[in-house]
């Protein structure tokens, strides 16, 4: 799984597609595969109950389980529903692109994704360890010690290099014009706040990447292991 790439990739896609995509459904698509499942992977306390998947990797990425949310067909199905319900092809297509980016990025870990579901084969590059089953904190420590965090860093650097995508002029000329959602929201929220909303995922992804890196390596001294499939000090899950 990725901790910041799903926040950052939409800005890289936006840079190249300009008016051909709408940013909000692109971002929702990028978040969508984990929206319903992540809390159950790590588990939560709800009053006297502890709710957690008995096999988090299977639940998150497998079948039976919710692994179909990381397949291409899921993106197409939800995108078509959005197109029909909201009557916006742009929103449907943008959602699909965002969801595809998430599903493909998550093939980078040791569990991978069932990209071609209902074929249940897991595509996995094994570049970094999937450690969701170890709990949120160990997963964070492992992720920010391996190549997954370096993949996130690529998008941080690319976003900063493509800094014009984050400017208010770009927002006015491309983001605002491409999607009727922004003029609608502008009736309720001032334009200055809209620009901040547009930048929020980049801010969140980048700041969180830095904070977790400090937490893992300055506060707790977890060892970096940038070898393929690492870090090897954590038990990686496999399909």
């Amino acid at each position: 799984m990725s901790w910041a790439a799903h926040d950052l990739e939409p800005y890289a896609i936006q840079k190249h597609m300009r008016l051909k995509v709408a940013f909000v459904p692109l971002l929702i698509g990028s978040y969508s595969p984990d929206m319903m499942t992540k809390w159950f992977v790590y588990g939560i306390h709800l009053g006297p109950w502890d709710l957690k998947a008995s096999d988090p990797a299977q639940f998150h990425r497998g079948w039976p389980g919710f692994g179909f949310t990381h397949s291409l067909i899921y993106g197409v199905a939800i995108g078509l529903i959005i197109w029909k319900v909201f009557g916006s092809k742009l929103w449907g297509v943008s959602f699909i692109i965002g969801q595809f980016a998430h599903a493909i990025t998550d093939t980078g870990d040791t569990v991978g994704t069932m990209l071609l579901f209902p074929w249940t084969f897991h595509f996995h590059l094994d570049a970094w360890a999937y450690a969701g089953q170890t709990g949120r904190m160990t997963d964070a420590a492992a992720y920010f010690s391996g190549l997954g965090s370096m993949w996130d860093l690529v998008f941080i650097v690319y976003g900063l290099y493509s800094w014009r995508v984050l400017t208010s002029a770009y927002f006015d000329n491309v983001i605002y014009r491409a999607d009727a959602f922004w003029p609608w929201l502008n009736r309720l929220v001032p334009r200055g706040a809209l620009v901040v909303l547009y930048r929020a995922a980049f801010f969140y992804g980048t700041s969180r990447w830095i904070a977790w890196t400090i937490w893992a390596h300055v506060i707790h001294h977890y060892p970096y292991d940038l070898s393929w499939g690492g870090p090897h000090w954590v038990p990686a899950a496999h399909p």
Binding site: D7, Y31, R136, M137, Y161, W163, R164, T167, S168, G192, A193, V196, L197, R199, A200, A201, F203, Y204, T206, S207, R208, I210, A211, W212, I214, W215, I219
Partner: protein, 64 residues
């Protein structure tokens, strides 16, 4: 033929805006490292950014 990477240089106004976000990020990161739950939610991050990068600067400008 030589290929050259070109970098579009930001002006003073761009750098001022960037500096404001860096300041907001530094505070967010400091809170997040001290209290890790702060980092978990996108919505908390969004609310924080609206406060730090829009609401507070707007109020300061109006009061000034």
């Amino acid at each position: 033929m030589r290929l050259r990477l070109s970098f579009d240089r930001p002006n003073r106004r761009d750098l001022t805006v960037f500096g404001g976000y860096c300041l907001a990020a530094a505070v967010y990161i400091a809170i997040g490292v001290a209290w890790i739950d702060f980092l978990f939610s996108f919505w908390v991050g969004l609310a924080y950014l609206l406060l730090a990068a829009w609401l507070i600067p707007t109020l300061v400008r109006r009061l000034a």
